[in-house]
Symmetry: C2
């Protein structure tokens, strides 16, 4: 489960200049940085945690190659002492984080890095790069799961994701958030995600006619053939799919379904269902794709479109209506002292924190969250109970992986579904409603005092 | 210049199922696929080509590892013959493409892949994945260059780019489109892009006070120190930067400038300029950052804000107002025959094409483009001239790299700037104006006939 994109130079230049300065001036004490989201994008009511596994893996394997150090040397900004320091550098601090699939809210730390200041600082850019995208896409995908909870939804988004890494992470984040699988083959290999596929228009075009294309495909993949019917004319395509099924019947092949990738999907799916049923092909499913998102799918579902599965891509893997989150990785403690920042509109709650989720009874629905000083939990002043759980758990201690319970992708998926059931139902609204009361996230009074201090 | 993310499994499952079908049924003739953008996003008037180098490198190095073949085997979809075919597979077809930095328009092919059908098909997902993002970001960044042509603009966008690959490609695409450099260290190593950096709020917070942070930093980096002044209170921060300059003067250190990352940048930059000038620090530059894009920068420039440099990030690297393009990789010829597709709203011009750019006189401004059948150019019926240039040039022939003239990143950058000068000035508008006449892209009559056929 190693992230591919491994280079310690995949960061901002200032991380190195600052780190060297810390080394020179002895600003080397332990620091705590927290990653959190400042506010929810339009229409969102909650966030879904994803990417923690990738962050842990990034920290665990962080190191510099001689080639990377040579490049840093060519910049003329760094001296031998600093490059030597980097060459021996490993992350041996602590990483606390919220488990993947968990539902979180703004201001709640999603991860915490505790390490000597230059080390924790050097990790900033990549940690934001990982969590920003994974949380954003999992949160978007969760909305699709909400509107079509009984349907098969598959991620088709690799091609228009922003680069390969985004495409791969999107397969994982959407799976955690309830999708059935992905078309991205590599996500099957790396994460064990179920992979799916149909056929492309070019496949139909490359054959002398549509029927031949359908027959060739179904004979080769008799387990679950899905035929794309809209290359030339959708209704003629559906007729060809029916004809193909009639021919294949004699060979004991069941066509699994058809895919429609263009046009008015509500009308076409109804017509397709009627045509298929009339022809005795009631077993054939209808899959649709093309510019889908939670808004379109909600409308299709509300119109009672007889659709069995959705292939969603671009709008989910780019989180197209909100392609970035307002998030930060902020220094909250240095050398045992709480730190704070007061830039206009960007104030940060000082001090290391824990997030306590309160439930209405054991295993009950969410009641409220409270962000509390971490040390109150460590000192046992605030404790977990059957109706009260800490969300931040250790992933690395002294650089070593902690065995995080419930850390598989399937468990993350379960956790997300359980979270959706636990959320107050008003927060499951998809559309804009500015009057909606947000989830109750309380801030412990000691943290406010720190802010004023 | 190898892309990092090298796995032949970074693709959609259907590419493999279709390829196996082609192999089984002997649908192995030469195919031509074209990548093009169907329409311009909101407010855009043109596109900037980027990513061709990455596409060429992807094709040139395409191959399967035994581990990848093993994974494909576990899916149960593929037989030994097909896996053997894949294990020996290399791309030995042709790649034609528009040079990076060139300005292009919808419907113009940006690249063409000519190879046996299964090979050309297998390349689809990753080619779209590369070009979609690179073209989108270069096109967005070009608008920033337009509104602040005399200013230093630096890419700070890695942290909120969608994954590491996007961040790296964004550094390149924005540089091609006229940025001065990037904060992404790896882009310096891989592409030779100038890298820049200032300091973070955490750097100031980790010191006992702001002045100490400024002095420590400037003494260590006396060449070009830029001091971040808005951690606590921006005006007090500017005063501290001035004090730092007074102290450092005696050590012969010139503070290069200050950075403001929050607040009302127009007002603050004017106040900062006045404070710096009054204090005899006229040499100190003002750099701003924080949620910038071409719209905000245009307003700042129009208000005469005394800003010397812009650090832009999130909104450019995510192309936030248009985070995806309507683009496609379409089969246009198979076995010497033109192919076409008629899905509602997604029709494709059949046949392989060339793009001919007509200039008003030698080296003059753009006159119009014409999309013409490729074979008319090959047969010499349409020829290049001093006022008429073919945009698609060979990058790979029989899988081997062609020495593409003008293929360095610096040449791409020059080409973009020259393109901006050549464009009709009405197309340099930043804001929405739906009445604006688009650039004149003509379609050769033979292509229309093909479509009707």
């Amino acid at each position: 489960m190693r992230p591919f994109f491994e280079s310690s130079l995949l960061t901002d230049l200032y991380q190195f200049t600052m780190a060297q300065s810390y080394l020179k001036t002895g600003v080397m004490e332990e620091a705590c940085f927290e990653f959190f989201v400042r506010s929810l994008p339009k229409d969102r009511r909650y966030l879904v945690c994803a990417g923690l596994t990738e962050v842990a893996e990034f920290l665990r394997t962080f190191s510099f190659t001689p080639e990377e150090l040579d490049f840093l040397n060519t910049t003329g900004l760094f001296d031998r002492d600093f490059l030597d320091y980097l060459s021996g550098l490993r992350f041996n601090g602590d990483l606390y984080g919220v488990k993947e699939g968990e539902i979180v809210f703004p201001h709640e730390p999603i991860c915490q890095v505790v390490a000597p200041l230059p080390v924790a600082q050097l990790m900033e850019t990549r940690i934001i790069n990982i969590l920003h995208y994974c949380v954003m896409v999992a949160s978007k995908a969760s909305r699709v799961t909400q509107v079509a909870p009984q349907k098969t939804v598959v991620d088709f988004g690799l091609r228009r994701a922003h680069g390969g890494e985004a495409g791969l992470w999107a397969a994982k984040a959407t799976y955690v958030a309830g999708f059935s699988g992905s078309s991205t083959v590599l996500s099957g290999k790396i994460y064990g995600i179920p992979i799916f596929g149909t056929m492309a228009h070019s496949f139909v075009q490359a054959h002398p006619n549509e029927l031949t294309a359908f027959l060739n495909f179904a004979r080769l993949y008799p387990q679950r053939p899905i035929l794309l019917v809209d290359t030339y004319d959708t209704k003629a395509g559906i007729e060809n799919a029916i004809t193909a099924q009639k021919v294949l019947e004699r060979e004991n092949i069941k066509v699994f379904g058809i895919r429609i990738d263009s046009g008015d999907l509500a009308t076409l799916s109804k017509e397709a269902r009627a045509m298929l049923d009339r022809a005795g092909c009631g077993h054939m499913k209808i899959i649709v794709s093309g510019d889908l998102d939670e808004y379109v799918i909600k409308e299709l579902e509300e119109q009672g479109a007889p659709i069995d599965g959705y292939g969603v891509g671009t709008r989910i893997t780019t989180s197209s209506d909100a392609p970035h989150l307002n998030c930060a990785y902020k220094l909250v403690e240095y050398g045992g002292q709480k730190t704070y920042k007061r830039s206009t509109g960007k104030a940060t709650l000082p001090g290391r924190k824990q997030v306590v989720r309160h439930f209405r009874g054991e295993d009950g629905p969410f009641h409220y969250d409270e962000i509390v000083p971490f040390d109150l939990c460590e000192r046992g002043i605030i404790q977990e109970s059957p109706s009260k759980r800490f969300l931040l758990v250790p992933h690395l201690i002294n650089g070593r992986p902690k065995d995080v319970k419930g850390d598989t992708i399937e468990e993350a998926r379960e956790r997300h579904l359980k979270g959706l059931r636990g959320l107050p139902t008003r927060l499951l609204a998809i559309d804009t409603d500015n009057d909606l009361t947000p989830y109750d996230v309380r801030i412990h009074r000691d943290l406010w005092e720190g802010l004023e201090g």
